[in-house]
């Protein structure tokens, strides 16, 4: 397992395999882009730039598909491309049916990417449908599958300055023919400089003309140079590449004329400045002429500035370069940084003990660097949540089609960043919640209209930062949760005794219990036995929490609170018996001495009086079955869990701690109370407490103790 280093170069097939993997990743990304563009198109079918982007993405899939041996994908994509090309040219409308078809084609490409030989009938079907989209007049384009996109090569623009020596005619070269050859290469603007031509009566066998040519072409500079190969020693030739982006910026403007002249060396910068100083700005001239007033000019200038900034930003975005890195490498990096944090902590501790000022300052420097390194490393793993929004949009689109409901999906805060692992593992829960919202939440258009709502339902997927957490909220404007129904259901399922009175929140929290589903019949979409309990569990596994709020007739909102990263947390270090424990600082509200006066331990109740509020508490020593008793003053840590507070009684509070999370490993995978461990500065291992699980377990135990006095079925959901 360990230490396998590939010393030999990658063989041909291995090499190919590696690239295939990259290709598959690329496909997945491109398809996601295509889908989100398509979904936007379904709303606004006329947006040319979206059609273009879809077309380009398919073209890339096709091109690299053929290159890496995904022939089926290449051939299949070609068919899509053909139709889209007609759409691009405005010959076929982007109707809903075509959007749907293209979406299913995307799915099909995904299948094909998994198994290139899959397809068969499906491929044929989709291809047939695609072809049927093409009006008869253009069918020919299909039968002669010529590749239009091949005519869309990367274009570049060159400035060619061709100044033949006067004696160029001596060896029979005709400069005009050379210029004509350039014209054949692409869009070409030729400016002949004729001012050096002497009067006709003087010598006429020499060439006195030179040319400046702007050429936009797909050929390389070398190829352009080749045209002049036979004239090279008899002329001065300069070929400069002007980047195409610069020519075609958003405002459609090229560089200002003065800049061009300076760049070409025709005038010097001081010359230009002098000339410019003597010139008044066009705005000023207009104002002076009384045609307009200065405010109008100012606003026009602001507009210009705005457009320029926009286009600059656009360009910068396009130029932001990315590196694709294997997630494994990042994990290793995070691990290493974690270890560094640990070592740094011991260094700091040690240096303080040594009381050596120099040592301490070095340790502080290391601490600062480590913190920065840690934050940077964590940020590498952060990905904007918008990367997954596309998928959910698609889900809503498909579901609403399937269920005959009109549902719009709105997203907010897509730029919010979260750890990649968290995002990946969020996928299923969010999917489930959205399914629920579309299936159970949003009513049918008729019902909605009847209750005075717009026929089209709305689902909002919003993400936002909240301290070191990220909140993800999925809300709908549907029917809301039916508390009566939940109650009935819970009673019939034996989850609560019939006589118990519950608050609304408590009732809502019942739906997070295993096996709970409020809708009578099981539909295709949701209620396949995977309930909200699974959602809750997966979120809790990410050290997050779920909350639900709902108003009958107005809708439901489910809010998930997630940590920014899984690797490092801010913790509060406490001691119970011989062991140190870490509580995530995010749940800690306050700490205080467990003074006798604040405690009401009458009749076995563990209740503390925290400034007038009664807070239940758990003795961790008892709960962990640690023998002996702490002789000193005990401390109580008040934690907030969703909507209630809980005290945890510990021996000692050590302080805040940068906690690098280490898994407890497979042998301890069944421990619930501990979500992991960490290594302290002194080399000992501390355990990270999951306060939610702790509360759950303590409560369950207490209920069972009480069971004798309350023969009715346990009521397990009080907490949430």
């Amino acid at each position: 397992m360990q230490g396998q280093i590939l010393m030999r170069p990658l063989g041909g097939t291995e090499f190919m395999e590696k690239f295939k993997e990259v290709y598959l990743e690329e496909i997945a990304e491109l398809l996601a882009d295509i889908e989100s563009a398509l979904l936007e198109l379904s709303e606004t079918p006329d947006r040319k730039e979206l059609i273009d982007s879809v077309f380009r993405a398919f073209h890339t899939i096709k091109g690299s598909g053929a290159m890496f041996g995904f022939e089926t994908i290449a051939a299949f994509t070609h068919e899509i491309e053909t139709v889209l090309d007609l759409v691009r040219r405005g010959l076929v409308p982007m109707k809903k049916s075509l959007v749907d078809l293209t979406l299913s084609a995307c799915d099909h490409i995904r299948h094909l990417a998994e198994d290139d030989s899959a397809g068969g009938k499906d491929t044929e079907n989709i291809v047939r449908m695609l072809r049927s989209m093409i009006p008869a007049d253009y069918q020919e384009d299909v039968s002669s599958p010529k590749d239009r996109a091949e005519h869309l090569p990367e274009l570049s623009t060159c400035r060619i300055r061709f100044r033949p020596n006067p004696d160029i005619f001596d060896n029979g070269t005709n400069p005009i023919l050379l210029v004509d050859e350039l014209r054949n290469l692409g869009e070409c603007q030729v400016i002949a400089h004729t001012h050096t031509i002497p009067p006709l009566e003087s010598e006429t066998t020499k060439c006195y003309i030179h040319w400046n040519i702007i050429l936009t072409t797909s050929v390389k500079i070398e190829a352009i140079r080749e045209i002049f190969i036979f004239a090279e020693d008899r002329c001065r030739l300069n070929i400069d590449l002007i980047h195409s982006d610069e020519i075609m910026d958003e405002s459609g403007k090229y560089k200002r004329i003065g800049d061009i002249l300076v760049e070409r060396g025709d005038i010097t910068l001081p010359d230009l400045k002098k000339a410019l100083e003597s010139q008044r700005k066009i705005g000023e001239m207009l104002v002076a002429a009384g045609v307009t007033d200065s405010d109008t000019v100012a606003s026009a200038l602001a507009e210009q500035e705005h457009v320029r900034n926009l286009s600059r930003k656009h360009r910068e975005d396009a130029m932001t370069s990315n590196i694709r890195v294997a997630a494994k490498k990042l994990d290793t990096l995070v691990d290493l940084v974690g270890e560094l944090v640990t070592v740094q902590a011991s260094l700091s501790q040690r240096s303080l003990l040594l009381e050596d000022a120099e040592m301490i300052s070095i340790a502080e420097e290391v601490e600062r660097l480590t913190a920065e390194l840690r934050d940077n490393t964590i940020s590498i793993r952060l990905v904007p949540v918008s990367t997954t929004f596309g998928k959910f949009r698609r889900l809503v689109y498909d579901l609403s089609n399937e269920l005959g409901k009109a549902v719009a999906m709105e997203t907010r805060g897509g730029e919010t960043e979260l750890d990649k692992t968290v995002i990946d593992r969020l996928n299923d829960p969010v999917m489930h919640i959205i399914r629920n919202a579309v299936d159970h939440g949003i009513e049918s258009p008729e019902k909605r209209i009847a209750s005075g709502k717009p026929a089209k339902g709305n689902i909002l997927l919003a993400a936002e930062h909240s301290g070191t957490n990220v909140l993800i909220r999925i809300s709908d404007d549907g029917a809301g949760l039916d508390t009566l129904m939940i109650r009935k259901k819970a009673i019939s399922a034996g989850l609560i005794p019939p006589e118990v009175q519950l608050t609304e929140n408590e009732l809502f929290s019942l739906i997070f219990l295993p096996g709970f589903s409020t809708v009578g019949e099981i539909s295709e979409i949701s209620g396949r036995g995977v309930g909200m309990d699974v959602v809750k569990r997966s979120i809790e596994n990410l050290r997050g929490s779920v909350e639900i709020s709902s108003k009958k007739g107005e809708g439901t909102a489910i809010t998930m609170k997630l940590p920014l990263t899984l690797a490092i947390i801010e913790g509060l270090l406490v001691e119970v018996g011989p062991t140190a424990y870490v509580l995530p600082l995010s749940v800690v509200e306050e700490c205080m001495e467990l003074a006798q006066s604040t405690v009401r331990n009458a009749r076995g109740r563990n209740l503390a009086n925290v400034r007038g509020e009664i807070v239940p508490y758990i003795h961790l020593r008892e709960f962990f079955r640690i023998q002996g008793d702490w002789k000193g003053v005990k401390q109580i840590v008040i934690v907030r869990l969703n909507n209630f507070r809980l005290g945890l009684v510990v021996d000692n509070i050590i302080g805040e701690h940068q906690t690098v999370i280490k898994s407890l490993g497979k042998l301890y995978r069944d421990t619930k109370v501990f979500s992991g461990s960490t290594i302290l500065a002194d080399g000992n291992v501390a355990l990270i407490l999951d306060a939610y699980k702790l509360a759950e377990m303590a409560e369950a135990e207490e209920l069972l103790v009480r069971k004798n006095s309350y023969p009715a079925a346990g009521f397990p959901a009080m907490i949430r």
């Binding site: 034996g494 709960f623 023998q627 898994s663």
Partner: protein
Amino acid sequence: MVSMETNGANQYLTFTLGEENFALEIAKVREVLDYTKITRVPRMPDFLRGVINLRGNVVPVIDLRLKLGMSATEKTLDTCIVIAEIMIEGELVQVGALADSVKEVISLEAARISPPPRIGTKLRNEFIRGMGKLDEGFLIILDIDRVLSEDDLAVVKDSSSVELPEAQEEKKDNSEEKEEEEEEKSPVLDLDAEDPDGF
């Protein structure tokens, strides 16, 4: 019964648990550590002694004696932690095992290894890979993967917060002071075990 793959790995690390000699295939052993502070993870079966910091990695330590039905390991000067590599759910995992003392690495031909006797070892047979015959006695070769096999872990799983019934018995043998307390709480805890997928 016993399949001894003779893939050249017939070297064994020998160690003692109580008076008895045990051995582990050397291929399974990564290193041997002196006893170090073990952080106990509360509310887990007793044979899971806790976790240690092994050069920045958190490694679980098990009490082989408890696992094999003997009394719990008492820390002495000779107590060692044998770091073994075992497969759990297809993943190579490092696990520390407490040994009363570690002796040596020996070579043993396959011919000198016999299947475990059905009775007489007083140990759970399924954990024994074979009996190695030495001039001065015999060795019990443990199947460390089995000792921590999935089936067995499933027990841990079911018990989750609860003490293993088996572990409780061991505790009685141990006649530890907290026995009473355990006894008192266990019915409560047993029921608690239903909680994860109850209802």
